[in-house]
């Protein structure tokens, strides 16, 4: 590696002009697919991710069904055109691992024991990837689950923090993830102060690790507010329009 990319300049600005503790711009939309029981879409920086939920419904294959609760099946998948070098369509080991950690992040939020012998099938499709896709995936999946009318304890918000260019940063983009010193993705349930997803790769002292977690939780709290707004948005717009009509008359 002879080329040194400057990840953070002397003014504390990152490659995309952000401050150290700044999230990328986020757009959320709920209820975007007509066939799925619930769906949502997120844009976070250059990330573009769709989540769809089918269920609760019959379990396939049947032997996976649990007698006392529903199961959550999750598939995190990247489109071949989502990254710089075309990715072959078959699930990679990374996609298998991410499908697992994302599923484990969302399960604690769902009242699974209300629907025994059923399956909630969650699909996360990454249409364009630029770092932090598992966090954005968890964030958008929470909305798809809520949109499907699946009862939840809380929404799960997620994002990553880490170290890049020697500084602790929030919401790493692709180049920061690849060239930086550490990446710590976190998923969080606010009401119960519960971390539902946590990974780390890189090298950090325990103190830096703690700082990264705190920074990520800060990001999660901001994202949580955006999630709530997005869920209510569609209905608030209809309500305003409809009740305006009444007032006019």
């Amino acid at each position: 590696m002879s080329q040194k990319i400057v990840l953070v300049d002397e003014e504390g600005k990152r490659t995309d002009g952000r401050k150290l503790n700044e999230l990328r711009p986020i757009k959320l939309k709920v209820g975007v697919l007509s066939n799925a029981d619930g769906s949502a879409y997120i844009e976070q920086g250059k990330n573009k991710i769709l989540a769809a939920v089918y269920g609760p419904r019959e379990v396939h294959p049947r032997h996976l069904a649990l007698p006392d609760r529903a199961i959550l099946q999750c598939r995190y998948h990247m489109a071949p055109f989502s990254v710089e070098e075309r990715k072959p369509p078959q699930p990679s080991r990374r996609e298998v691992e991410l499908s697992k950690v994302i599923r484990e992040a969302l399960e604690p939020a769902i009242f699974l024991d209300k629907f025994p012998r059923t399956s909630i099938d969650l699909f996360i499709e990454v249409l364009q990837a630029d770092g932090g896709t598992r966090g954005a995936g968890v964030t958008v999946a929470s909305l798809a689950l809520a949109d499907a009318g699946i009862p939840m304890r809380d929404l799960v918000a997620a994002c990553a923090a880490g170290k890049a260019g020697g500084q602790m940063v929030l919401d790493l983009n692709d180049i920061e993830d690849k060239e930086g010193e550490a990446d710590v993705p976190v998923a969080y349930m606010l009401n119960s102060n519960a971390v539902a997803l946590l990974q780390m790769d890189g090298l950090l002292t325990i103190e830096e690790f703690k700082q990264a977690i705190d920074l990520a939780l800060d990001g999660c709290k901001q994202i949580y507010v955006l999630q709530k707004e997005a869920l209510k948005a569609k209905y608030l717009a209809i309500k305003e329009e409809a009740e305006e009509v009444v007032e006019e008359e």
Partner: protein, 265 residues
């Protein structure tokens, strides 16, 4: 009797004991099971080790080959970690391609080795962009009695400590293998420490029954300088940020305990 029924009764038993600071096998909450490390057990492999952690048994084999570097890292050798949960290890394991647990394990072990830069991959480069050494790490789980991650990471590290790379010479732009070997130089010694969250308490090195009743699982890997190099939360429970930092502090000490055994052997 279904396994779920057994778990509920067991869960109560195990959870009750743990609340009073004890475990079913008489260990303290932060104790490792007895560890046995043997290296050089497979002569045909360039490096190998067998680790017993309690009754969990894992073998790691290292094969060195020649190959092409990754397009975005033309000056680096290649390290690849694979794991197989072979059917002999447990009635729950089926023959076939690796499932998600196996893939996750391989990636967590890989992260620990890669992020702590155990191997100087640049030194494994022969012709930049064309030919490099490939280090194949294959983890073979022989008996599953809990905590496969830590046993696998330990076996991997132990196998790397006795890995030999063949000598070579360049003749007309082609790699010619010479007789003799060189030990693979290692720069770091990462150790994985896994906790199981049972009734709100984190216990180190869970065995099989504890794993079946745990809520969440947390693996933290430390390098020789006491830096965190890999973390993976598993399972469907959750942890508080405070629990996580407490665990990190404990893990640092526990990693040092295990490291002494590898570096010495």
């Amino acid at each position: 009797m279904t396994s779920i029924m057994v778990s509920r009764i067991r869960k109560k038993q195990i959870a009750q004991l743990i609340t009073s600071g004890k475990r079913l096998d008489d260990r303290g909450l932060a104790d490792w099971r007895p560890v046995q490390i043997e290296t050089g057990v497979i002569e045909k492999a360039e490096g190998s080790a067998r680790v017993r952690l309690g009754r969990t048994e894992v073998m790691a084999g290292i094969k060195i080959g020649l190959g092409e570097p990754f397009s975005d890292r033309p000056n680096d050798g290649v390290l690849t970690v694979n794991s197989e949960f072979v059917p002999i290890a447990s009635p729950e394991f089926e023959a076939g391609p690796p499932g998600e647990e196996s893939m996750e394990l391989a990636r967590v072990v890989d992260r620990g080795v890669r992020e702590s830069k155990v191997i100087d991959l640049e030194k494994l480069c022969i012709i930049p962009g064309k030919k490099v050494f490939v280090v194949f790490v294959d983890i073979y789980v022989l008996n599953h009695d809990g905590n496969l991650i830590d046993a696998s990471a330990l076996a991997t590290l132990a196998a790397l400590t006795n890995t030999k790379v063949f000598k070579y010479e360049m003749k007309d732009g082609e790699v010619e293998i010479k007789p003799g070997f060189e030990a693979l130089p290692l720069r770091n010694f990462p150790i994985a420490v896994t906790f199981a969250d049972i009734s709100g308490k984190l216990v180190v090195d869970p065995w099989l029954d504890e794993e079946e009743v745990m809520d969440a699982r947390l693996t933290i890997s430390f390098d020789k300088d006491g830096k965190v190099c890999a973390v993976q939360k598993g399972g469907t429970g959750t942890l508080s940020p405070e629990q996580i930092i407490e665990a990190a502090k404990t893990a640092k000490e526990k990693a040092e305990e295990l490291r002494k055994l590898v570096v010495k052997s």
